[in-house]
Structures are given as structure tokens and as C-alpha cells.
């Protein structure tokens, strides 16, 4: 399944730094997201866009991860040549990650 099936996301910008949240629709899916959406995987996915380090913060109380990506906005929102200077569209690209459905916890119906 896709990450988009179990999580939602929003991108923010500050200077040349982009942050992307990944939030479980159902907090029961948070451990699955935590296990499979790693900083390395995000850095690999965005290797053409993000040139600096990617740091992941966990916020289990809301079932969310926050990725902070440096050198991600073409030198900074205010001088970037990119069409999407703010990198606002990055969140949607991240949600296309493949997540193994077999790892999903069994839930009561």
C-alpha cells in the first residue's frame, strides 16, 4: 500500500529549509509509519531536490513524524528559481512511498 493510504502530510518552509510532517490517520498505524518512513528513505526519495541533511523528529502524542530537510529550497524561498519556490508540493510526493501492508497491525472491527 501507499503511505497516502494511512497518513497525511503538510510541507512548511523557512529560508532554505523544508519540513514535511507525516501524520497517521489512525494513531494505531503510527508504529508502522515510524518503522518504514526513515530519514534515509526520505533523503533517497528527494535526492534530486534536497542537498543537505534530513533529520527526523518523532511526535508519538499525535502519531506523527516531522522531517527537516536542509538545502532543500533552491538556496531559499526568496531567491529560488523553482516554480514551487516554497517546496509546497513535496508533501504529496512523499505520500507516494510504498509501505508493506503485511506489517499493518490487526485491528478490531
Amino acid at each position: 500500500m501507499k503511505l497516502r493510504d494511512i497518513a497525511h502530510s503538510r510541507t512548511g518552509d523557512k529560508g532554505d529549509i523544508s519540513n514535511i510532517s507525516v501524520i497517521a490517520f489512525d494513531e494505531a498505524d503510527y508504529p508502522l509509519i515510524e518503522a518504514h518512513v526513515t530519514a534515509d528513505r526520505v533523503k533517497e526519495l528527494f535526492h534530486e531536490v534536497v542537498h543537505g541533511e534530513v533529520v527526523r523528529y518523532t511526535i508519538p502524542s499525535v502519531g506523527a513524524l516531522n522531517f527537516v530537510m536542509r538545502q532543500a529550497l533552491g538556496g531559499g524561498v526568496t531567491r529560488s528559481l523553482a516554480l514551487d519556490a516554497h517546496g509546497k508540493c513535496l508533501a504529496s510526493a512523499l505520500l507516494d512511498l510504498e509501505i508493506p501492508a503485511t506489517d499493518r497491525p490487526v485491528r478490531a472491527t
Binding site: 519540513n19 510532517s21 535526492h47 531536490v49 502524542s61 526568496t78 516554480l83
Partner: protein, 447 residues
Amino acid sequence: MKTIRIGSGAGYSGDRIEPAVELAEQGDIQYLVFECLAERTIAIAQGAKLKDPAQGYDPLLAERMLAVLRPCHAKGIRIVTNMGAANPAAAAARTREIARSLGLGGLKIAAVSGDDVLETLKSGDHRIEETGEPVSAMAGKLVSANAYLGAAPIVAALKAGADIVITGRVADPALFLAPQIFEFGWSMEDWDRLGKGTVVGHLLECAGQVTGGYFADPGVKDVADLARLGFPIAEVGEDGSAVITKVAGSGGAVTTATCKEQLLYEIHDPAAYLTPDVVADFSQVRFVQEGPDRVRVTGATGRQRPGTLKVSVGYIDSFIGEGQISYAGPGALARGRLALEIVRERLALTGVATTELRFDLIGVDSIHGGALSTAGGQEPYEVRVRVVGRTGSLKEAQRIGNEVETLYTNGPASGGGATKSAKDVVAMLSALLPRELAKPAIEFMEA
């Protein structure tokens, strides 16, 4: 327990105005806050002020004040806003004029200044955070330097009886924190409550982004009635407890999901959200849906504020020239690619001096580059060529758009809809300033 209701009337300078009127008329609020300053806004406004000393504030200030002053006056709602941009005093004077024209006498208006630290920054030994370069080395290029002030001067203005407080650069959450500090008599060192008040400010500062705006994804995350999206209200208690809600019957939705997206918006370390008033900690925040469009937020806290203030430094960076043209129908992709190759060669042949160049095909790979943009094997019906470059002069920047435009008669078949532009770029960097070097000042006027 005493509670107050704070409404958020704008999430950015160009935001919709009707939701603010709706809040003033039907929101049962005591405060209406307008957050209207993006990173670069003040630097651009500084240019307007240099041309005309009566300008340099938010271009929609008059329209907003005309729309909300009467209902706010009738209901005793106080207004807090950073629409002063580079010229809070001129914004206050204009607001006084509007109040008088509406026959609203006796309104007390405060202009908070002191965020402009350009001279201080130039004269001292300060460095640019991103580059490590001394600020003094950029002297000829500097346009503006504004420190992010905290809640204190707004609280002081409210204490002095201001009905309307107009600031320049102030940390966005501080606009919302100030009414809470003032109403509840919180100490400026009650880090836990300041942390709680800051999360409320952070959730509200982008207005519609917490009520279902910037959220909809049809079939996955649907939001009703976005064309009438309502703006948020925080219902805050003196112990720092808070509920996020909106006007009944307005469009959008307040859910735990909309609140979570906004909680992490433009946040780096959630345990250390730096503001001039407190280092807020959002890492233990929880949201509970208490009813339709009512979400309770708990668990925020904070610790001692930083010793420095962030300063946003505006400077003349470069010039950007751009051109676009479209191709459609069979073979559109190949014609678009040929067009890009022609422009690439033309820019080299004619010696256009650029320091950075980008060749995009909008509809194919312009947003995330080639590797991510696998179009599923199907060719797009239409593509839009986009060539953009950075130059050292406006004249050189114009040559880029010209080389795209000439594709009309010199490029591939059936190109249409060419556009071109060239502009100067005021870009932003940051610096840190010992907080005592920024000296907030308040000027009062009465309508």
C-alpha cells in the same frame, strides 16, 4: 474560570476578508488578530516607504479596517495586527482616518515600532547566520533588518487601553499570545503558560489552514464548503487550556487531523520552537475532538526564552528573467524538449550572462525533477516550456524571456501563449541579535 475567545482574521497579506467580518459579527470574540507579514514583505514595504514616507504598510490595511472596524467597535472587539509592516505609525494614522470617516470616535490606536534594527546591525559586530559573513560586508546591498519582537509591547499597548494595536515585525504567535498574557495577567516568565499560549498562536496564525484550508485531497481527505471557509477561533482559559473552533455554519472543518497538520507546519524540532517570548515545547501535545468543529489542545509547555532575537535581513540579491511557452497535441512533449534545447543553445550563442539556469517542462518535470516525475508512461497532452535564470542586471534578465518568446517564429511548430518577465530579487537572510539591542516603542493616537 475566566476564558476569552480570539479570532484569526488573516493568515497572510492577501487573505480573504469576509471570514474576518464573519468572525467580528458572529464569532462572539473579544480579539481579532490579523497576521499579514511573510518573510520578504517588510523588505519590499521598506522600498515603498523610501519612495513615500506615508506608505510601507500592508496594501489591504484600509480595505480590512473598512470592513471590520464598525462591527468590532459595536461589540468592543480589540484588533491586533502586524499590518504595520515597515511603517506602523503610518498604518495607525490611516486607520484613524478610516475610523473617523466611519464616525467611530474615541478609538485608541497604538503603533508598535522598534523592530527596525538595520542601523544597529550595520554598526555592530554581527554575522549572517546562513553564511557566517559579517553583516557589515553586505552594507551596500542591505535593504532592511527587522527583529522579531515578542508579546511585551503589545501587552503594554493593551494595558494602556488600546483598541487597535498595529505592529511591524513581531513573532506571529506573539500577536495571539499578547491578549492572553494581558487578560489573564500571566507573568512574562511563566514558561509553561507562555508555551501553552504559543501553541494556540501557532495553530491560529495561518487562519484557514487549521479550519480545513490547505487540507482537502478529494476521496482521501474531503472538506465541505471550501468556498466559504471559516477562520478559526481559540477559546482560551486562564490556566492555558484551549479549544480550537470556528463560526457555526461557516465552511471547512476543525478536526484533530486539521489541527495536527497545522501543529507541525513550519516547525523544526517540536520540543524547541524558538520564539522571542518562550522556547515552546509541542512534543507532548494531544488533540481531542470534543464536538463538531471543536478540538481541545493539551500538553504544550515551554522553557526560558532565548537570549537573542531573530532578525530578518533583506538584501538586493540578483535579477531573475523568465520565459514560458506552450505546446499541445500529438508530439507536444518532443516539441517542448526541442524548444528547451534551442533556448539553451541560444543563451550560450548570444552570451547571456547567468549564474544559474533552469529548464523546466511544466506538466512533466518542473516541480520535483526527472527522477520523481514518472508520468506513468503516458505522454501529456500539453506541456509548457519554462526557462528561468539568475543574472546581475535587469537588462540581462530580460534577454532570457526574449529568447523564449522568439520561439514563436524561430522554434518548433505550434508554440503558443508565450509570456516573459524580469524582476529584481530582494532576498532574505537572518542574524541573531542580543535582545536588549532591540528597543520597542509605542505611539498612541485617538480617532
